[in-house]
């Protein structure tokens, strides 16, 4: 399941649905990652823009690559766009595999690609203005380790 949505989602509910969807399979290991809007630096809200025509196909490609590379049994991605307040959950990834190493690696791989190759852009709204978040040099470094 891949979803790009403005609406909030329930991490726990999705985690349970993901786990239930693995039943009967050999999924011994389930990893979830969720990203939360941090409130440091005086942040009031985060605004996420995306490129609708490209977002879903780009994430589908990443999920296919992660499944093939790590032998994942399943992988779900939910990513929100629009205006998000501090403490709101921005996105989540869930992966399943027979063993924990692959479930962890698959989730990290997906996060690194989502961060730098999925067409999302974040703008930080502060009390005195707003600014687009710059990509970090470390984001590319994270990707390089999968080469």
């Amino acid at each position: 399941m891949i979803s790009v949505q403005s609406a909030a989602f329930d991490l726990g509910d999705i985690s349970n649905r993901f786990t239930a969807a693995q039943s009967g399979a050999e999924a011994g290991a389930i990893v979830t990652f969720s990203g939360v809007v941090r409130g440091d630096g005086g942040l009031i809200a985060l605004e996420i823009e995306h490129y609708p025509a490209m977002t879903l196909p780009a994430i589908e490609d990443m999920v296919s690559a992660a499944r093939a590379r790590f032998g994942l049994l399943d992988a779900w991605v939910i990513h929100r766009y629009g205006r998000l307040a501090v403490g709101e959950t921005i996105m989540m990834v869930a992966t399943s595999a027979p063993h924990r190493k692959d479930a962890f690696a698959g989730a990290e791989f997906l996060m690194d690609y989502l961060k730098s190759r999925a067409p999302f852009w974040k703008k930080e709204h502060l009390a005195d203005g707003a600014a687009w978040v710059a990509a970090k040099v470390s984001d590319e470094a994270e990707l390089a380790r999968w080469d």
């Binding site: 996105m91 999925a118 067409p119």
Partner: protein
């Protein structure tokens, strides 16, 4: 006729998220040169191409890429999702 779309600060600097362009450009780089000559806003947006990424028909590519029969070219800063 090609559709050009902009995101994040490129969209804000240019003042629109989408425009139709009549062009004979054969590569992304040639299209960028044409777009930069439209006005000072476009010129400012493309002033430093190291800060710009491009997708042709929703697939990430680079400035040397041919446009061929491309329908949509997107320009945006490095992604910051996740």
């Amino acid at each position: 006729m090609i559709t050009v779309v902009y995101f994040a600060w490129l969209r804000e600097r240019i003042g629109t998220g989408r425009e139709q362009i009549e062009t004979q450009a054969e590569t992304v780089a040639q299209l960028v040169a044409e777009l930069s000559s439209i006005d000072s806003y476009h010129a400012a947006a493309f002033a430093d191409l190291r800060a710009v990424r491009v997708a042709v028909d929703q697939v990430l590519t680079d400035f040397d890429a041919p446009l061929a029969a491309a329908k949509e070219v997107a320009f945006f800063p490095p992604m910051t999702g996740g």
